[in-house]
Symmetry: C2
Subunit: 321 residues, 2 copies
Amino acid sequence: MSEFDLINQYFKAAAVKRDDVVLGIGDDCALLSPPPGKQLAVSTDTLISGVHFPETTKAEDIGYKSLAVNLSDLAAMGAEPAWVSLAISLPELDHAWLENFMSGFTELAQRYSVCLIGGDTTRGPLSITISVTGFVSPEAVLKRSSAKAGDAVFVTGTLGDARLGLQAILNKSMIDKNLAFCIKRLNRPTANILAGQLLGVFSDIAAIDISDGLLSDLGHICTSSETGAIINLSSLPLSNELSHYYHQKPDWQKVLNAGDDYELCFCCSQQQVSALLEKFTKHGIPITQIGKITEVKGIQCLLEDGAKLDITQDGYNHFAT
Amino acid sequence: MSEFDLINQYFKAAAVKRDDVVLGIGDDCALLSPPPGKQLAVSTDTLISGVHFPETTKAEDIGYKSLAVNLSDLAAMGAEPAWVSLAISLPELDHAWLENFMSGFTELAQRYSVCLIGGDTTRGPLSITISVTGFVSPEAVLKRSSAKAGDAVFVTGTLGDARLGLQAILNKSMIDKNLAFCIKRLNRPTANILAGQLLGVFSDIAAIDISDGLLSDLGHICTSSETGAIINLSSLPLSNELSHYYHQKPDWQKVLNAGDDYELCFCCSQQQVSALLEKFTKHGIPITQIGKITEVKGIQCLLEDGAKLDITQDGYNHFAT
């Protein structure tokens, strides 16, 4: 089977129909008609087998996750997903694998009406690079640089589940710990698209998706905004499964450095808090205030009694030396 | 050094300034402001070491070529390059390599004012995935499906050089054959952006870039347009270096299946030929009529005396079974 048949068979079948896709897969380029008055938000992420997901991960979960982590970047800008390109390297042509990969990918693509506009298939070690484009009104953009001293710091959902899920997969002694929920959080991370769009209604919200851990990613907001932050550890939202595993005594070092949940972290003014809580409650999206932005640089983590806890940053770093 | 420092150091430095890039590298997404009335042409290509370029290829040539093959897809649609995303996997953090890679990449990006808007760096076997976006007026789009029986078939430049260059690199016995020109054609392929834009002035031109060989790529035009084609072998434009190497008796099998030159193949009506020749001559871009489109399906290759030559297609196929 030629590369072209491959592309036709799997990729064209996965293309959600959109009016703004003038020409989809099959020519030298896709042709797209962007909506007037909107800006385009574009993000690119690579996932490598054994680095970004365990080598034992099911093809359908890899397909789902590859798209989810990219959509998560759109969510963090407040953008509405539209188009996606998929470049995939495979050690060998495995139809069953590709079919399963595309089923996970397509499930998520259909949920958000994202159209697969093109891509490339090559022979090589398993790796997936995805580039997504979304639309956002200029006034609804969420930037890392918008945080101000005094802002409330929020996160969506719960933190640390995916990392615990990874631990459960890598450590056979944990097999009976009933961590299916955490493993699902690892393999099928949330793309908080609606949350990002709700935030866009408010002005000057700073946001980021937590891909490398709260400490690292809130750190990016602080660096871009030239601020610091205080995190109240007792406020951090934890799932029942994680709390139960840690017997109510979480390993903060792990929770604060846990990426892969892909929840959003955002900062808003104190005046915006109540309207924001009301809007998220109405849409059934859990958000939790976990601290505040400070003028003093650096991130301080406080225990319930006000004592500081020293946490070192170990968010995943591909070229740490 | 963290991934973020890497991105900052090499990628930000390579970002050409453009007014339509509202927010470049450094947030969750880039923010772009597309020009009203234009369509976006988007293409994605992966290059893997040892597959798409010899492992001995210099970093600066890899950087140049990675961008060139993507720009070539924009050329084949008649689009003007604007933005590029770069995802790169490296076995280890090698500053000298990255610097050289980016110097080749940036040389070409600056020539066409393409802005690097984002990307991803990961640890893994050497592989580069690039996604480019260009602008094109809806009426100037070049599609593979526009060829009609009776159309003249043209190519830009010369054919077969890059393949001969690759042969020279892989085959030490050819070291004295003075094939530096052909090796340069392999490592620094042409991105025929201007040619694509000149073609856009004419209506209903079919075009493709020759990445897999003339036979294969003209074949894509024919399939999309539901036509066939005749190629007159004696008309094929060959470089002096290639002609000299073959002692004026080219190995047609190799020349017709040679990709990597990234010349354009295009089809226009007989009525358009003289205006088209005039325009290309004025801009100093060599084009050659090599045959015509036929109603009869399939591609026939004719020798000077009118005899058919049987050529089998062996254009590069990543998953040939």
